[in-house]
Every structure is written in structure tokens, then in C-alpha cells.
């Protein structure tokens, strides 16, 4: 990437210091993570072994299996062993085995331990085939992207959120034809707190459509079709963060998703999910993402929806650096890091646009190799759709000026409803207009040295360093307890899903993750 103009004269030492501090902070948390697993991580393993479907009570078989093992007290060994043991004991394929357990024919825990060698062989075989499967999907995607061509940045990113996957398809197709590069299917409001992933195609949701494997498949197929018509690769996005973070990532890997919302702290802060649960889950989730070339989107934009975007700008930077370090721990390449930030300053602030430019530019320059995800004005959008459209125009201008990568398009009806077909069209045409009409503005203007923008960016960075020093001193968990991010305080032992966390036993074995880590580590050397 060549050095863009305008640029900030960031203090390089400060940048290095910030990264070092963020690394220290996450190293500390990683020590917890390494010794824990969760029910969701285990269900991820089950899914990657090809087990899918539901039992008579609509409970997903991955839950059935993990609960079965958990209830039998065997989870600290990891679910992989039990599945392999069961397959051999019953001479069944994993899916058959799961269905039988789903019919309550037997418990995996009641089956006698099989020959260790055979079980190990079975595990290897299942793991190899699982890895081959997701590798093939990844390669198909990479090839398609190459063949159809990667559209120019900033990518135009729109959401669909009807609640009905088939209606979503209609709207996604329309959006792509109008120029959308990325389609995100927003999840139903209730889903992130479900400790299972719903099954099958769904046609009812509130404020979004359930993330299910079948829904992923339906939308991906629709986009694959329309992307041929429009002759450019169209990316599909869904949401990982929540109680099923790694499972959803596995589903994404299986269905060829391109982007997943995946933040190391979002679930804690905004969904009151247990801290350890989230930290452990995000690690597995990101390993799979890194492996499958799924770009993660972090959620710092949310902080400045509940706290002040100017006063708390450095918390965004701090969190970005933490998210980056957690991603690096999962061997993720920077290009797959969709570092989040947002244009949320009150439009009535004098010179608010200069702050926005400074903040956006800071994200761009701190993460030069990343693929920043820039979020539109939301909290100060009102029923005045015209004003909102003007705000979105300036938002688009800041993006093209500062060289952002992923442009989550602002909707003029943000304060009113999830997007109508026409709202999405208007959003796309606004962005296309501004991006084209101001195409090279980023190479044309220079920020006055020692001007407001330069100073402001450095100030935010300094404040972030100060905050990171504090976080390092007290530890990330205490910092969250103090309400550092988004003005929200969460306690270490509270939060949903804490009961799904367990300490790995001595004989814990997660062959899939080990295989993934091994490959990624290989690549990264």
C-alpha cells in the first residue's frame, strides 16, 4: 500500500508503544483462554465433523451431543474423543451416531471405551476430512473472488433484515444489482442470547433473520447467482458474536461466508455475556475465520453509540488495538481484520467533521494493512430523512477522503425502520455519487501540519496509550468491570453463558483446532 495523502504525522514510537501495551494486555487474557473450553467450542467441533440437524424437540444435534457428554461428565476431555469412540463402538458415521443419540437410543458416555489406536485413527480421519472440506470451500471462494474481480474500495456494504430469508434474498438481489458489494443478513434481535443455533430455513425474525446454516446456504447461493449477472464478486456477511460465536463461524466456514461480525468484547459489553465465555469463544471463532479467510468485523462503533464519540474516541482506538492483538493470536492476517469505527459525532457539533476526519484517518493509519470497517451515523439520525441523507453524504465523503475499506452504508431511515428497498437504493446511489465525484480527493489534499486534524489524531492516540497503560496495570477484566468501554460495566463472574465454560482436563483434545493452528502457524512463518 503506498502512502496516501492526506496522512497524519503519527508519532511512530507512540504507535509501537500502543501495540506493545495491547499485546501485553491480551497475553494476560490468553493465559486464561488457553486452559478453557466452552460448550459452544465443543459444538463447533461437532459441527465441523459434519453433524447437523435437530431432534424431535427441535434441539440441534450438536447441542444434544455436547449436552449428552456434559451430563455424563466427559466434556473436560473434549467432545471429539467421544464422537470417535461412539462411531467405532456403533460402527456409525458421526451423523448417524448423533441422530441415534438424538432419539435417545443411547448416551455416548455409556458406550465402552474402544481401542485407543482405532479411536485416534478415527479422529484423524474425521479431522482430515473436516479440514479438507473447509479448505475446499475456502479455495472455491478465493478462486471466485479472483475470477470475478474484487470491486474497488470502499466496498458498498448493505444490510437486509426482513426476518424472512426468502424476502431477504429478493432484497439482496436488488441491492446487488444497484451496486452493493457486500450483503449482511442481520440477525433476529433475540438470537445472540440463544445458546444454540436455530435450524433450517427461517421466515420469521424480529429486526433481522435468524442465522442458520440453511439460511446461510440460501443467501450464498442467491448471491453466487447474481454475482455472475453483475460480474463482480459479492461478499456475504453474518454475525458471530453472541453465545454461539465459534459455531456460527464454523457454519460460515462451511457455507462460504466472507465476513463475520466478530469482536473480542462485544458480547460481554452489549449482550451481557460472561467474560470468560466470550474470550474463549472468540479465540476458536477467530482461528476458524483466519483459516477460512473470513474477514472479521469488530464492533468498536457500538462504544460511541452509548458513550460520547469525542470524549471517548480513545476507547475506540484502545479496543481496536486489543482486537488486533487477539486476532494476531489466532494467526489472522491483517487483511482479514475489519477493524471497526464509526461516524457518530452529533451533527450539531461545530467542526464535528474535522473530528470525524481525524478519527477516521487515525484508524486508517494505525492499521495500514487492515480492511477497516467504517460505520455510518446512527444515533444522531432522526425522523428527518433529508437531514439524514445529508449526513450520509458527508460520511461517504470522509470515507473516500481517508481511504476506508468497508463502507457500511448509512440509511436515511435509520431512526425509523430496518431498511426499505428504496432506502437501500438511495444509500447505494449516495455512496456511488460521492465516491466517484470525489474519487481522488484523498490524493489531492494535505492536512495542515500542526493543524486541528493532525493534533486531534495524535491526542486520541496518546489517550489510548494512557488507557492501555491503565488496562495493563489492572488487567483487561478489571478494566471492563470499571466500565472502560461504551460506559458499560460488566462483572467478571456474571453474565450469560458462564455455565458453558469449563476447564480443559489433562486429556483434553481438540483435534480440529490443533490442525488449524498447525496450518496457520506454518503459513505465518
Amino acid at each position: 500500500m503506498n502512502k496516501r495523502i492526506p496522512h497524519l504525522d503519527l508519532d511512530e514510537n507512540l504507535v509501537r508503544e500502543a501495540r506493545k501495551l495491547a499485546k501485553d494486555v491480551t497475553d494476560d487474557v490468553q493465559r486464561f483462554i488457553d486452559v478453557k473450553s466452552t460448550t459452544s467450542v465443543e459444538r463447533t467441533v461437532v459441527r465441523l465433523y459434519g453433524i447437523d440437524g435437530i431432534d424431535a424437540e427441535d434441539v440441534p444435534l450438536p447441542n444434544v451431543i455436547v449436552d449428552d457428554v456434559k451430563n455424563g461428565g466427559g466434556l473436560d476431555r473434549g467432545v471429539a474423543y467421544w464422537i470417535a469412540n461412539g462411531c467405532i463402538a456403533k460402527s456409525m458415521m458421526p451423523q448417524e451416531l448423533a441422530e441415534a443419540v438424538g432419539r435417545r437410543e443411547f448416551s455416548l458416555m455409556d458406550l465402552p471405551p474402544q481401542n485407543e489406536g482405532l479411536v485416534a485413527e478415527k479422529i484423524d480421519e474425521m479431522t482430515k476430512s473436516a479440514i479438507e472440506h473447509i479448505t475446499e470451500i475456502r479455495e472455491t471462494r478465493d478462486r471466485m473472488l479472483e475470477e470475478l474481480g474484487d470491486p474497488p474500495q470502499p466496498y458498498l456494504y448493505v444490510i437486509v433484515a426482513t426476518g424472512n430469508i426468502y424476502e431477504d434474498v429478493v432484497q439482496a438481489r436488488a441491492a446487488v444489482k444497484e451496486g452493493a458489494d457486500i450483503v449482511a443478513v442481520i440477525r433476529s434481535t433475540a438470537q445472540s442470547l440463544l445458546d444454540y443455533v436455530p435450524y433450517g430455513a427461517t421466515t420469521e425474525g424480529y429486526g433481522g433473520t435468524y442465522a442458520t446454516q440453511e439460511n446461510f446456504k440460501i443467501m450464498r447461493a442467491a448471491l453466487d447467482e447474481v454475482q455472475q449477472e453483475v460480474g463482480r464478486y459479492v461478499r456475504l456477511t453474518n454475525y458471530a458474536s453472541g453465545l454461539c460465536m465459534p459455531e456460527i463461524t464454523a457454519m460460515g466456514a462451511l457455507e462460504g461466508l466472507d465476513f463475520l461480525l466478530n469482536d473480542s468484547m462485544y458480547g460481554i459489553l452489549f449482550r451481557n455475556i460472561n467474560m470468560i465465555r466470550t474470550f474463549v469463544d472468540q479465540y476458536t471463532s477467530r482461528l476458524i475465520s483466519a483459516y477460512s479467510h473470513i474477514t472479521i468485523n469488530t464492533g468498536e462503533d457500538n462504544y460511541i453509540k452509548t458513550s460520547d464519540p469525542i470524549d471517548r474516541a480513545h476507547t475506540v482506538t484502545t479496543s481496536q488495538l486489543i482486537n488486533e492483538q487477539f486476532a494476531l493470536k489466532s494467526y489472522m492476517k491483517p487483511e482479514y481484520m475489519g477493524i471497526g469505527h464509526a461516524f457518530e459525532i452529533d451533527p450539531d457539533v461545530t467542526n464535528g467533521l474535522l473530528y470525524e476526519i481525524a478519527h477516521a484517518m487515525l484508524t486508517r493509519e494505525l492499521f495500514p494493512q487492515a480492511t477497516p470497517k467504517y460505520m455510518p451515523p446512527t444515533r444522531h439520525m432522526t425522523g428527518n430523512i433529508f437531514k439524514g441523507y445529508a449526513m450520509n453524504s458527508l460520511y461517504n465523503l470522509v470515507s473516500i477522503m481517508t481511504g476506508q475499506s468497508i463502507q457500511l452504508l448509512g440509511m436515511l431511515t435509520e431512526a425509523i425502520h430496518t431498511p426499505f428497498l428504496q432506502d437501500r437504493y438511495l444509500a447505494i446511489s449516495n455512496a456511488k455519487y460521492v465516491f466517484n465525484n470525489a474519487k481522488d480527493i484523498g490524493n489531492e489534499i494535505v492536512f495542515k501540519s500542526d493543524g486541528f486534524i493532525q493534533k486531534r489524531a495524535n491526542e486520541v492516540l496518546e489517550n489510548a496509550v494512557k488507557l492501555l497503560e491503565h488496562v495493563k496495570a489492572v488487567g483487561l477484566i478489571s478494566a471492563i468491570e470499571e466500565g472502560t468501554f461504551g460506559d458499560i460495566s460488566r462483572k467478571r463472574d456474571e453474565g450469560k453463558g458462564g455455565d458453558g465454560v469449563f476447564t480443559k482436563g489433562e486429556d483434553y483434545y481438540n483435534p480440529i483446532l490443533e490442525a488449524i493452528i498447525e496450518e496457520l502457524r506454518g503459513e505465518s512463518v
Binding site: 444489482k177 428504496q422 437504493y425
Partner: protein, 250 residues
């Protein structure tokens, strides 16, 4: 003056002269763009009682939809004299006045329980009413001397809320609903009334709903005592609570 004055018994939209009836509309029809689509749009708008309908813009949204921007002149009017403001009616007091009023007329702090119920996780609106910090410089109920506030936060099940009401012996229940897609808020709000009734708590509390798409009318229709919409100030709510609780005591 040589200019038409407003006739309040039949007010009409004003574009650039009194009673011209000018209205702007936009919508999408599920047909592809062309003269036929434009004619359909025109007929549709005509059927709403518009004349001089101008389809000023039509654009394909993919192959199956067309977006229209339309101007027309409505023949409809409204008798403004007969309109009564539908809204919460209460004397408007500031924080000191409310505290004073409660001290004098009720004599003990009012116990308030607030929550965002159901699957709704939006807390900023409710927090603006309840938290110290308040909204646009108007302090929230927590800062009032004469309110005792329990803010349960978001995604609270109706039964959980009912439990708390009983536990703290609440006088007032404040519920927020922000997500309205497919009328989920109506479902949530109705559920709460049902639970409170089933548990015999409904008559013991002043029940208030709020959120950007909540109107007083809707709230009353759903069995609430009042509803507060976009831009509500904490002191609006405080004034209303104070005067209603005082009335209840009479």
C-alpha cells in the same frame, strides 16, 4: 392583505400558497420501470385523493421493482378546530417542583421500576429517563429526591419484571420498547399487561410505556396508563407520575 388566510375549519397542506394541498410522496411498486409502471403509480396516488399528480422520478430497483417520487395536490383537509391534542396531560414541573409536589401531596418517595422488556436491548432511551445524567440537560429520575429508582436494564422477561414490582412494592412501572419491526413491541407490551393482570399487580401500579414509536394513544389502547414518544424529557415523565400518583391516593 391580499393573501389567503388559513381557514382552521379545513386546513390543507401548504406548498407555496394557502390550501394548494401540495404533498410529496415516495414509494416502490413491485413492477419494472416504464410508462406502464408510471401510469400505475399515478393511478395509485390518484386513488388516495390527489389531483395534478406528477411522477417526478422513477428508477428501476433491480428488474422487479420501481422507486417513485411523486408530487400531488391532495383534496383532503382536516378540521383543526375539532382536534384535541392526544397526549399526556399533566402540569409541567421541573425537578425541584416535582420533589416539592411529591413531598407535599404524597409524603414519601415514589418507587419506580424500569426495564426494556422482551428481546429489546435498547437501553439508551430508558436510561435517559432514569439515569442521573438524564437527557439534554434535564436530569433523570434517579437524581430526584422523591423517586426511588430500580433500573433493571434490557431484555427483561415480563415475569422477572413482575417479580421485582412485588419485591420492592413499586408504585410505577416504566417500560421501554424501541424495536417495532413486525409489531414486536405490541406483542411485548401486551404480554406484560397480561402478566401484571394475572399476578394481580396491574391495579397497584401506574403503568407507563415509552420509546420513539410509542404514542400515548397506542399505550392507552394496549392497557397502559400513558405512553411517551420521541424527545420525551425526564421531567415530563416525572411531572406526570407525581400528579397521577397523587390522584390515585385521593
Amino acid at each position: 392583505m391580499n393573501v389567503k388566510k388559513v381557514d382552521l375549519s379545513r386546513i390543507k397542506p401548504y406548498g407555496d400558497q394557502m390550501d394548494d394541498g401540495a404533498v410529496q410522496l415516495s414509494f416502490t411498486l413491485p413492477v419494472s420501470n416504464g410508462p406502464r409502471a408510471r401510469e400505475a403509480a399515478r393511478q395509485l396516488v390518484n386513488s388516495m385523493g390527489f389531483s395534478e399528480v406528477q411522477i417526478v422520478f422513477s428508477e428501476d430497483l433491480s428488474d422487479d421493482f420501481t422507486f417513485f417520487i411523486v408530487y400531488g395536490k391532495t383534496e383532503k383537509f382536516v378540521d383543526y378546530n375539532s382536534i384535541k391534542a392526544i397526549g399526556v396531560e399533566s402540569p409541567k414541573m421541573n425537578m425541584e417542583q416535582v420533589d416539592e409536589y411529591i413531598s407535599t401531596n404524597i409524603g414519601h418517595p415514589i418507587i419506580v421500576v424500569g426495564a426494556t422488556i422482551g428481546t429489546d436491548a435498547h437501553t439508551v432511551g430508558l436510561d435517559s429517563i432514569l439515569n442521573m445524567k438524564g437527557f439534554h440537560g434535564d436530569s433523570g429520575l434517579e437524581r430526584y429526591r422523591m423517586f426511588e429508582v430500580y433500573n433493571l436494564g434490557s431484555q427483561i422477561a415480563p415475569t422477572e419484571l413482575a417479580k421485582k414490582v412485588r419485591e420492592v412494592n413499586a408504585n410505577v412501572v416504566l417500560v421501554s420498547q424501541v424495536v417495532t419491526q413486525r409489531n414486536i413491541h405490541i406483542k411485548h407490551l401486551t404480554e406484560l399487561v397480561d402478566v401484571l393482570e394475572a399476578e394481580g399487580l396491574r391495579d397497584r401500579v401506574l403503568l407507563i410505556a415509552g420509546g420513539p414509536r410509542i404514542t400515548h394513544e397506542l399505550a392507552v389502547e394496549l392497557g397502559y396508563d400513558a405512553g411517551f414518544g420521541a424527545g420525551t424529557m425526564p421531567s415530563d415523565v416525572a411531572s406526570y407520575i407525581a400528579s397521577e400518583v397523587a390522584k390515585k391516593l385521593l
